[in-house]
């Protein structure tokens, strides 16, 4: 079984657009959405949820006002500025800022701070007309998205094994931090989607570096390549220099927006040169794996 993760560094370069198209084009695969804090792939795949599971993050601190003596020791030790004195000798934990380190609860002389189990999101196993789909939703303002991503990846792999699927396509998150690192681990290929803009190029280089840092084979494709010919050729040259295979180029196409509004993978919505470019990209990707 092969696992392909689609990343980009910069957001909005077309990761989900391509993931949904690959869902429509690939046979025998499982889909997964690893962008758990702004998940969108479900809007194009229309899953029927078969299993919902609660995801618990780190416990969060809670102060018992009955026991609290107002000494303020907790404020001193908290490095996340999560505890503040709202009135004199009346302390409150900001649950969004609390990173669950437990230090306040351990040092409180009055034993007035308890750590509370906190639901930090949900993960789902679903069926779609494109096959099985693993996805998740991180709770409001929660952290630990990396852990939830790991959960999604595990589910996708299990779905593939159980259903005899030989390919897992993972729609990755933007950035280079914790959730991206969690998405990459164990992948056979990272496909980096970029665009010919200074930020697209800059962030793509960072995404490639992260994938390499973790020893993941990397390939790239350029979306909206005809927006800026000189940037596109710079990206191509860089890929060549770095020995990163460029698997395809997709034109700028305002009809993409219409396909998103209708909630349909682009290759099923429009049959034009953009759709052909995506289909060609998929064929090359398939053979590259």
């Amino acid at each position: 079984m092969k696992q392909v993760v689609i990343i980009s560094g910069k957001g909005g370069t077309g990761k989900t657009l391509l993931s949904a198209c690959f869902a429509a084009l690939a046979e025998n695969k499982v889909m997964a959405d690893c962008d758990v804090d702004a998940a969108n792939l479900h809007l194009l795949l229309h899953p029927e949820i078969q299993k919902t599971h609660s995801f618990y993050g780190l416990d969060k601190a809670k102060i018992d006002p009955e026991k609290c003596t107002g000494c303020g020791e907790c404020v001193h030790v908290c490095r996340f500025d999560a505890i503040s004195e709202i009135q004199e000798a009346n302390f409150l934990v900001d649950r969004v800022s609390c990173e669950g380190c437990t230090v306040c609860s351990l040092i409180c002389p009055a034993e007035a701070i308890q750590m509370e189990k906190t639901k930090a999101g949900e993960w789902y196993v679903s069926q779609t007309s494109y096959g099985p789909f693993a996805h998740a939703k991180l709770g409001i303002g929660e952290e630990n998205s990396g852990k939830l991503v790991t959960e999604v990846r595990k589910n996708a792999k299990e779905l593939a094994e159980k259903n005899g699927r030989d390919l897992v396509i993972l729609d990755g998150p933007p950035g280079t931090g914790c959730p991206v690192i969690a998405s990459l681990s164990g992948a056979d290929l990272a496909l980096v989607v970029t665009e010919p803009t200074p930020s697209g190029f800059h962030d793509m280089k960072r995404a490639v570096q992260v994938a390499r840092h973790f020893g993941i084979k990397t390939a790239c494709c350029i979306n909206k390549y005809d927006l800026n010919a000189s940037n596109t050729s710079q990206i191509q040259e860089w890929c060549k220099k770095e020995s990163i295979p460029l698997l395809g180029k997709i034109p700028y196409d305002e009809s993409v927006t219409a396909s998103l509004i209708q909630g349909v993978p682009f290759v099923e919505h429009t049959n034009n040169s953009t759709a052909t470019a995506i289909k060609d990209l998929y064929e090359i990707l398939k053979n590259f794996l």
Binding site: T16, N40, C101
Partner: protein, 279 residues
């Protein structure tokens, strides 16, 4: 006053709005720009600041003083992040899991843990004309961006109007970036993706009790999907920017909207007036 620009979904135009707002305001009032998208800092491509200062940011991680350690295991027991493991005659430390909470060193009964800096990234500072500018850059392979974001925000000059460009998403890096803002502008686009991620971001920021305004980028005209939602949630739509290939091309050339369509200066000044009336 601190105005942060967030979005949920990536690539909706946070940096575009942040940069153009800063440039429109700079002759009207003192402005400072902080790029808190430390995983992908991009505002410098447009503001082209002269960066003169370079500061390395470290996260305090534990270091064991072997001569004092009795391998009692207390540190591993208190660490909520499994960043320490105590074996028979050694302590293993995993700095990439450490959040730098300081619990282990504080609670070690032998006082055998001191903290040392583990490099997570850098802050580069300088100025773009009259605008003081700072951004953070997370080192490749580092997972933990919030401490770097906190460090970028330490450069904040409170006597200025501070524009903060936040990262995409809705989780801890976003919360860290927008915390303490006078108002957050949420940049979205007229698609179900834009709406879905706007909803999550609005819920997150309401939790933080930050006043909000929405900007619809790549507007298709009516934007019914987004406007209906904003009306229901009582969040004002403060500005729209049309879907325009010319703006996309300018972006690809490192140009701002003000560069190619100077009339937008008025629009961004008007945006700021609306912001003032909301706070």
């Amino acid at each position: 006053m601190i105005i942060s620009i967030a979005s949920g979904k990536g690539g909706t135009g946070k940096t575009t709005v942040a940069v153009n707002l800063a440039l429109a305001l700079k002759n009207v009032r003192p402005v400072q720009f902080l790029d808190c998208d430390v995983e992908e800092p991009n505002a410098h491509f447009f503001l082209k600041p002269h960066l003169v200062q370079n500061q390395t940011v470290y996260l305090p991680v534990p270091e064991i003083r072997e001569d004092r350690c009795t391998y009692c295991g207390k540190c591993a027991e208190v660490c909520a992040y499994n960043a320490l493991a105590v074996l028979q005659d050694t302590v293993l430390i995993f700095p990439e899991l450490c959040h730098g909470c300081g619990g282990c060193s504080l609670l070690c009964p032998e006082n055998a843990i001191q903290e040392k800096g583990h490099r997570i990234g850098i802050i580069e500072s300088g100025s773009a004309g009259s605008i003081p500018f700072s951004h953070g850059k997370l080192d490749i392979g580092q997972a933990m961006s919030p401490p770097l974001i906190r460090a970028v925000k330490k450069t904040l000059e409170s006597d200025r109007t501070v524009i903060i460009d936040a990262p995409a998403g809705t989780s801890c890096p976003v919360v860290e970036s927008v915390k303490g803002s006078t108002l957050s502008l949420l940049v979205t686009e007229s698609t179900p993706f834009g709406l879905n991620d706007l909803q999550i971001t609005v819920e997150t920021l309401k939790e933080l009790a930050i006043p909000l305004g929405v900007i619809i980028n790549r507007s298709e005209g009516k934007d019914k999907l987004i406007r209906d939602y904003c009306q229901r949630e009582n969040v004002p739509v403060l500005m729209t920017i049309p879907l325009d290939r010319a703006i996309a091309v300018a972006y690809s050339e490192g140009k701002t909207i003000l560069d190619i369509q100077p009339l937008y200066k008025e629009k961004f000044l008007n945006l700021f007036e609306q912001i003032q009336s909301l706070i």
